[in-house]
Symmetry: C2
Subunit: 191 residues, 2 copies
DNA sequence: GTCTATACGCTGATAGAC
DNA sequence: GTCTATCAGCGTATAGAC
C-alpha cells in the first residue's frame, strides 16, 4: 500500500484506540512504518491527517449502517438487524469516541464529519421507523425522530457501559431492553 | 479551602473537560493555585490524584441519582424525574467520559469506581422498574435489568449525540423517545 | 518523496533548600 | 508543607540535504 494510505489507516486505528489528544504524529509514523519527513510531505500536520482519517472512518460507518437498514424485512426487523449486527463492542464506536475529545469538538472542521454521521444515522433510522408506522407495523402516535435518537443513543451508551464494566453484558442488555420496548409497540406489518 | 481539597477539585474539573490523557500535573497545579512540590507532597503522582478525584465524582453522581430515584411518585414518575433532571448536557457525563480513556480503562484501580457507579445505577433503576411492575404500573413481561440498562445507555448516548451536534436537541429527543416507549407500556399504578 | 538534524515547550517526576 | 532547581524524554513541528 502507498504511504499516504498507510498513514491514514494508522491514524484511524490510533484515533479509535487513544483519541485525538492521545495520538502523536510520532506514534502514527511508527505504526505506518513511515519516516517523519515523509509524513509532513503528504500531510500538513496532525489536524490535517486526523481530518482525512475521520472522514474515512465516517464513510465506512455509514456504509455499514446502510447495508443493514436497506436490507430485506419489515421496519422493525431491519432495525433489529442493525442493532444486533456483530460488533467489537469493547473497542467502542470510532466516531462516537471522538465526541469526548475537546480538540475534536472544538474544531469545526474535525467535528463536522462526526456531526454529519450521527445526523444521517438518526435520519435514516427515523425514515425506517416512519415506514413501519405508515405500514401499520408501528403505532400511529410513535414519534419517529425521537425514537430514532433513542435507538442511536442506546448503541452509543451501550458502548460506554460495556467499557466501564469491561464486559459486553450491559451492552447486550441495553440493546435487548430497547428492542423489547420497541417490539412491544409493534404489530405484524399490514401495509 | 485546604490544599489537597483544591487539588482534588481541580483534577475533577480537568478530568471532566479533558480526560485523563489530556490532564497534566502542571495544569492541575495551576488551576488549584498550588506549587509543584506541594502537589507531590500530598499525592504520589497523577494516577493517585486522579483516583481521589474519580472517587469523589462517582460519589457525587450517585448521590444525585439517588435523590431523584428515592423521591416521591410512582416508579415511572421517578424515572422520568431522573431523566428530565436539569443537566449541563454539552459537558457530558464526568464518569461516562472516562470510559473513552484507555489509561483509565486499562488501570483496574481507576476503572473500579467507574464500573461500580454504573453497576449501582443500573441496579437502582432496575429496582424501581421492578417495583413498578409489582404494582401493576408496568407489564409483567418487562425485563427490569434490560430496561434499566437501556435507560442508562440512552442517557450516556444522549450526551454523545449532543456533543456531536453541539446542541442539546438530540439528547432531548433521545430522552423523550425512551420515555414515550416506556410510558406506552405503563398503566396507572394499582399497588 | 524520504531522510536526518535541530528546536522549543511540555510531561511527569525527583532532590534538596527553606 | 511549600518552593525552586533539575532532568530525560515526548510532542509537534521546520529546514535542508539527498
Amino acid at each position: 500500500m502507498n504511504t499516504p494510505e498507510r498513514l491514514i489507516e494508522s491514524t484511524q486505528e490510533l484515533l479509535w484506540e487513544r483519541g485525538y489528544v492521545g495520538t502523536s504524529p510520532r506514534a502514527i509514523q511508527q505504526r505506518a512504518g513511515v519516516g517523519q519527513g515523509s509524513m509532513y510531505h503528504h500531510f500538513a500536520g496532525k489536524p490535517d491527517l486526523a481530518l482525512a482519517a475521520v472522514r474515512r472512518t465516517a464513510e465506512r460507518m455509514r456504509a455499514q449502517a446502510e447495508a443493514q437498514l436497506s436490507g430485506p424485512g419489515t421496519a422493525v426487523e431491519r432495525i433489529r438487524d442493525y442493532l444486533l449486527r456483530e460488533r467489537d463492542v469493547l473497542r467502542g464506536c470510532p466516531i462516537g469516541r471522538l465526541t469526548q475529545d475537546p480538540d475534536v469538538v472544538g474544531d469545526p472542521a474535525l467535528r463536522q464529519p462526526v456531526e454529519e454521521t450521527f445526523a444521517w444515522l438518526r435520519g435514516r433510522l427515523a425514515a425506517v421507523l416512519a415506514e413501519g408506522r405508515a405500514g401499520g407495523e408501528l403505532p400511529a402516535d410513535l414519534d419517529a425522530e425521537d425514537t430514532a435518537a433513542a435507538v442511536v443513543a442506546v448503541l452509543q451508551g451501550g458502548y460506554v457501559l460495556a467499557r466501564a464494566a469491561d464486559s459486553v453484558e450491559p451492552f447486550d442488555r441495553a440493546i435487548s431492553g430497547v428492542l423489547a420496548l420497541l417490539t412491544a409497540r409493534a404489530a405484524p406489518a399490514t401495509g
